[in-house]
């Protein structure tokens, strides 16, 4: 069980509208650039490359329109599967923001967290990261690069939260959790990603998360994910909980 939430803290989360998402992948590109994800190694493929955010194309027989499901770390809540298994506390849940942090400098590279994650949202650095030529000039100075042999994942752009907190403190602002936007939400041309404090009842994200049609992936595993999805298509919702599009009542494990 994670540490209790800090009084006055936030519980950042997002709602992704699958009916708006057209699968353009801008979120994935923005995420990679923002977080210094290196260019793929020559022999890398979709199974061993580093993807903090990937977009699944989902289809069902008889359905004319495919759905696109952007997948990143689901920022699990009460019982974070990866945090409890890491032998050296390289995964920590920030009680002030709810963000599941990955600390690469502590990581042994045992990959137990990857085995524990039901969303396959974690990537291991199978290769030495390499930014050839002047690509190093594109690196974001606010995000540290990782080395070979460690695990990494989406952090909800927590460096942007730090910047927002710094700016709030410099402006002498109140102690209210600051608002900020991760790179994926900022880049989405369809406005499909809404981000904010799920515990702030006045926030758009809290309203959407609790609106009809919203759901979380693999809700049945009770991971308390802080990423919600929305759709009016029933078959997408059934698939999201691990079932089949036809809804035969049997779900994947």
């Amino acid at each position: 069980m994670n540490a209790p939430k800090t009084p006055g803290g936030a519980r950042y989360g997002m709602v992704i509208d699958l009916d708006k998402c057209n699968g353009c992948g801008a979120c994935a590109v923005a995420c990679a650039v923002e977080n210094n994800v290196p260019p793929a190694a020559e022999r890398a493929n979709e199974r061993n490359g580093i993807t903090w955010l990937r977009v699944h194309r989902v289809e069902a027989p008889g359905e004319a329109r495919a759905a696109f499901v952007p997948m990143m770390c689901q920022q699990c809540g009460e019982k974070t599967p990866c945090a409890s298994v890491c032998p050296q506390n390289a995964v920590e849940v920030d009680p002030a923001s709810g963000i599941v942090a990955q600390i690469p400098v502590r990581c042994l590279g045992c990959r137990y967290c990857m085995a524990a994650c039901p969303y396959h949202a974690r990537s291991f650095n199978w290769w030495d990261p390499d930014w050839p030529g002047r690509l190093t000039e594109t690196l974001n100075p606010e995000v540290s690069t990782r080395t070979r042999g460690v695990v990494e994942k989406c952090t909800f752009c927590s460096h942007r939260l730090q910047s927002a907190q710094d700016a709030q403190a410099a402006a002498g602002g109140d102690a209210k959790p600051p608002a900020y936007t991760p790179a994926c939400a900022e880049a989405c041309p369809a406005g499909a990603i809404v981000f904010g404090d799920l515990d702030d009842p006045e926030s758009e994200v809290a309203r959407l998360a609790h609106a009809p049609g919203s759901f979380r992936l693999l809700e049945r595993l009770k991971t308390g994910a802080k990423v919600y999805y929305r759709t009016e298509r029933d078959w997408v919702r059934r698939l999201a909980d691990g079932g089949t599009a036809a809804g035969d009542g049997r779900t994947h494990g």
């Binding site: 137990y112 199978w126 779900t251």
Partner: protein, 413 residues
């Protein structure tokens, strides 16, 4: 040439033949060390593991050899704590096998982790809630104990024994060996259990997740029980193999009989416990996680035959063969039954590691397969070669089987 090092009264093959026996194993070790070097120097991209198959051949075989190596702790427990004196005939060999299994597993783990130089982080800032922390602590302590248990065997070598200080040290070590055996047993119980717990706690993997009994998932207890059951079978099987390879009787039939009886009895208990656990998992746990258990077996090649093979063919069958006096006393049945029992625990570890990771959790994730790279296979074969070489050297220069001299003399008469 090396007769002065061979224990008195024991006959060993000529040195040239012994060296010839070692050559292919040394070559295998060399290839494996090169593969391990590639993994360490170039990176784990030399393996075929990936972000879905985060654990592969290495973890599976590590779990298997650690289970088989349990013969060391359980034989020690039976001998020193339960006072089963007959097992003094195999305890030395069991300790060497245990040391080989555990040191080999640790060596492979050092290659398997992405940052091996950070191994000490787990001791420095451990997450006490992680099963892997428990495994790391117990494994490290138990390997140290196995090294301490191995030491008196080495110190008893003819040439080393000539030094009074060595003899005295060996004598003093021998006096406290029961304490080490007991501590080793406790540590072993914990890390065998923790290895089972590694998978049982994975709430995100309904195929592996098991409900808790006290603080631990049921797999914690099942791993302890299966390792304790199969350890004596592995000691029996290896003793038989060494006896065949060396062409010498090494232990009296009563020793085999006792090992088989212990192994069979525990295997019966294990199969019963595993059956109950499986029924609870099928009828309760998986439904609670919203998964129809039949779904787990929808994916080829992991049909329900895997479950049947694990529990019945490689569990119940060897258990009965080992526990029934009539079949146990027939060497044509005894040895294959011991091998079947070992295959059963290997299958269980395969199911827990590989099948767990192969099954998709998200509906839009495909079922994926994985084939180990030559570097993974060669690295593990290096452990096998290391084991054969170390065991061969120990067999040649140390007195692994105290009854061998007596049996050799009897056969000459």
């Amino acid at each position: 040439m090396d007769e002065r090092l061979v224990p008195r009264g024991l006959v060993r093959a000529p040195l040239s033949r012994f060296l010839l026996w070692l050559v292919p194993w040394a070559a295998l070790l060399g290839v494996g060390l090169y593969a391990a070097y590639l993994c360490l120097a170039v990176g784990l991209n030399q393996t075929n593991m990936d972000n879905r198959f985060a654990f592969g051949l290495w973890i599976y075989l590590d779990l298997t050899v650690i289970a088989l190596g349990a013969g060391a702790f359980f034989t020690g427990f039976l001998l020193y704590v339960m006072k089963k004196r007959e097992l003094a005939a195999v305890i030395n060999s069991a300790v060497v096998i245990g040391f080989i299994c555990y040191s080999g597993a640790v060596a492979i783990l050092a290659i398997d982790v992405g940052q091996p130089l950070r191994f000490w982080f787990t001791f420095w800032h451990p997450n006490v809630h992680s099963m892997l922390t428990e495994v790391t602590f117990c494994l490290t302590c138990y390997l140290t104990i196995l090294a301490i248990e191995y030491l008196p065997l080495v110190l008893k070598n003819r040439q080393l024994k000539k030094r009074p200080s060595m003899l005295l040290f060996e004598f003093e070590l021998h006096k406290v060996m029961a304490v080490f055996a007991l501590v080793g047993t406790v540590l072993s119980f914990f890390h065998q259990g923790s290895l089972g717990g590694l998978y049982g706690v994975l709430q995100g993997r309904p195929f592996a997740f098991r409900e808790s009994l006290a603080a631990w998932p049921s797999t914690f207890f099942l791993f302890i029980l299966s390792a304790a059951a199969v350890g004596p079978s592995f000691v029996l099987a290896t003793t038989w193999v060494v006896s065949k390879v060396s062409g010498r009787p090494l232990v009296k039939p009563e020793v085999f009989d006792l090992l088989a009886r212990v192994s069979g009895s525990l295997l019966v208990v294990y199969v019963l416990a595993k059956t109950v656990d499986t029924l609870v998992w099928i009828n309760h746990t998986s439904f609670q996680l919203g998964v129809h258990p039949a779904r787990f077996y929808d994916f080829a090649p992991f049909g329900t035959w895997a479950l049947f093979a694990e529990i019945v063919l490689l569990g119940l069958v060897p258990a009965l063969l080992l526990v029934l006096p009539r079949t146990r006393r027939d060497p044509r049945i005894l040895v294959p039954a011991a091998f079947l029992a070992c295959a059963g625990v290997a299958t269980n570890r395969f199911v827990m590691t590989v099948q767990t990771l192969a099954l998709p959790t998200l509906a839009f994730d495909p079922f994926l397969s994985y084939t180990p790279s030559w570097q993974e296979v060669a690295s593990f074969l290096a452990v096998l070669a290391y084991g054969v070489i170390l065991y061969s050297l120990s067999f040649r220069y140390l007195n692994l089987f105290p009854q061998e001299r007596e049996l050799a003399a009897a056969s000459e008469v």
